[in-house]
């Protein structure tokens, strides 16, 4: 459904998107993940024909964004980061305008407006001025605007930003109900969002593609590795933090020990295990045998968050290595 090849967007001083290629199949719901300023919005703007790419091609529903922008635009629903609303219009008036703009005939428009209002649960504010709506309602009107012409592809830029938890769940449910018939790309910098609602993840950082994979695969990559947080009691500077750290490092299967905090008579550490090793029992035994007070020990789940940080950090390391080796 969406095919992006070697996409690059250069600005006079910066490269916003650097040689990105990916494909999205029909009916999939894909999360576009990256820190702020990674190039998510730029990529989406290229896909929606708002910006032309500097290099490379983008193909949506079989049409190239540069050669047949009209055809692409007909098949795309787009919710930008700030919903594109006219505050002086009433909700139903606004949706009617957008619907007609997207090419819905005046005969069908009323039915479509009613349908999307029902779907996005904004029927109760249909006669309200958009200027008077709360942020949550605005976001939903923005979403209604994106789906009004029943597009093949939905592109949503941070659809849940600024919403409260209940509204986020509602939007998530709505997206799930839309997937299948629509191909959805949504961008976010909130990782749990992707874990919750996407099948595949595209991670970009500093304009470069870092990873494309299914959510399950990505979490699998680091499954088997255990992360443990422990808290050791200390009084009057005993035991010595260095000593504790040393002892923890000696426990079989521990690959890394990080000192997190040391105050109010508590020492906090974070441990990482080698692949496939369970270390909690050994760590506990080791601490207790040394005669220290073990006040807390818990497993820290490896989330997408960690994967994300590891991937983007790895990317940075590679880059600095390349830069060092470059001139020779």
């Amino acid at each position: 459904m969406i095919k992006v090849q070697g996409l690059t967007k250069r600005y006079p001083r910066t490269v916003a998107v650097d040689n990105i290629s990916f494909e999205v199949e029909k009916g999939q719901i894909v999360g576009f993940l990256g820190p702020n300023g990674a190039g998510k919005t730029t990529t989406m703007r290229v896909l929606t024909c708002f910006l032309p790419p500097t290099e490379g091609t983008a193909n949506v529903a079989g049409f190239d964004v540069l050669e047949h922008p009209e055809e692409v635009k007909k098949r795309i629903g787009y919710l930008p980061e700030t919903p594109p609303l006219y505050p002086e219009m009433e909700v139903d008036e606004y949706l009617t305008f957008v619907g007609q703009l997207k090419g819905i005939s005046s005969k069908d428009i009323k039915g479509r407006v009613d349908e999307v209002m029902g779907r996005c649960a904004i029927g109760d504010v249909s006669k309200k001025l958009i200027a008077k709506l709360s942020k949550g309602y605005r976001q939903r009107v923005g979403l209604a605007q994106a789906i009004i012409h029943n597009p093949d592809v939905l592109i949503l830029d941070e659809p849940t930003s600024g919403l409260d938890p209940k509204q986020i769940i509602e939007i998530r449910e709505l997206l799930k109900s839309l997937s299948g018939e629509h191909t959805i790309i949504l961008s976010t910098h909130i990782l749990s969002e992707v874990e919750q609602s996407c099948e595949r993840v595209i991670i970009i950082s500093q304009g470069k593609l870092v990873a494309i994979d299914s959510v399950a695969n990505l979490t699998n990559r680091l499954r088997g590795q255990e992360q443990v947080a422990i808290e050791v009691e200390s009084a009057d500077g005993s035991p010595d933090p260095g000593e504790v750290q040393k002892r923890l490092e000696q426990v079989a299967g521990v690959s890394r020990v990080m000192m997190k905090d040391a105050k109010n008579g508590r020492l906090l550490f974070e441990l990482e295990s080698l692949q496939g090793r369970h270390i909690r029992a050994d760590v506990a035994r080791s601490v207790v045998n040394a005669g220290w007070g073990l006040s807390e020990l818990r497993a820290v789940g490896l989330s997408l968050e960690d994967i994300f940080l590891q991937l983007t950090a790895a990317e940075k390391n590679d880059q600095s290595k390349k830069e060092e080796g470059g001139p020779q």
């Binding site: 708002f50 910006l51 007909k74 787009y78 006219y86 008036e93 305008f97 703009l101």
Partner: protein, 253 residues
């Protein structure tokens, strides 16, 4: 065409949903009404004396012509208020993304917006028609020159509105768009005095470029094709440049 009407409608609704339309119309009605009452009173006085000297006076010549000339000057000041929001507001609020990602051609958006502002300008001129209608009710002015003068006002306004539309695409800030448009309008108006002190070729060319010079024939009730062509080509040029400006917007932003 359907898209042009759609966008034109939206603009008109936008004008009338905000205070802009009413402010512009009220301002125009106030200034025009004040001048009108002054002129008619003066005319009544002078025509009394003229009657004694057996010299009938012409309403067209003494009231309508200078009044509509004034209207064209007032319009110079009102037009920036009308056009400043056209694109600047959409750029600021982000709704431009909606327009540019909808299956609508750039030129349809531009013409729709220009047409919306043009119709509002028409409504503004309609305010003056109330006063002119009073003259027709109590006097016997000539019909044709009035119509031609109004056509001139519309053409002149249309070309200034097109320039304002162009300037509005260049910034996110409505105040800047309005200010620059006002400055350009003023400049185009002032070019007409170029030949006042100087009759060189340069001065004549400058004078020709002035937007007011071409209105003179209309205000005399003459329909000169040369002036019509000037205004119409001005509208086309400005709207064409607007579409170029929008294209560059895509490449730059």
């Amino acid at each position: 065409m359907r898209n042009v009407i759609l966008i034109c409608n939206k603009e008109l609704k936008g004008y009338f949903a905000s205070p802009i339309a009413y402010a512009v119309m009220a301002l125009f009605a106030l200034i025009f009404g004040y001048l009108f009452s002054g002129y008619t009173r003066y005319f009544a006085q002078v025509s009394m004396q003229a009657m004694m000297q057996q010299q009938p006076m012409n309403v067209n010549e003494f009231i309508i012509r200078p009044m509509l000339g004034f209207a064209s000057t007032i319009a110079l000041f009102l037009i920036p208020m009308i056009t400043m929001r056209l694109f600047a507001e959409e750029k600021k609020s982000g709704t431009i993304e909606l327009l540019l990602t909808s299956p609508v051609k750039d030129i349809e958006i531009i013409v729709g917006k220009w047409l919306g502002s043009f119709l509002l300008y028409g409504c503004v001129l309609l305010m003056s028609a109330i006063n002119v209608a009073l003259l027709f009710a109590w006097g016997k002015p000539d019909f044709k020159p009035v119509l031609i003068a109004y056509l001139g006002l519309l053409l002149q306004g249309g070309s200034l509105l097109a320039i304002g539309t162009l300037i509005s695409t260049m910034t996110k800030n409505q105040i800047i768009a309005g200010g620059v448009t006002f400055f350009v309008c003023l400049l185009l108006w002032m070019l007409s005095v170029a030949t006042a002190f100087d009759s060189s070729t340069t001065a004549q060319v400058l004078n020709y470029c002035s937007i007011v010079t071409h209105f003179e024939s209309f205000s005399k009730g003459l329909l000169d094709s040369k002036d019509v062509v000037f205004y119409v080509s001005m509208i086309f040029l400005a709207l064409f440049l607007t579409s170029r400006s929008m294209e560059s917007l895509r490449w730059r932003s």
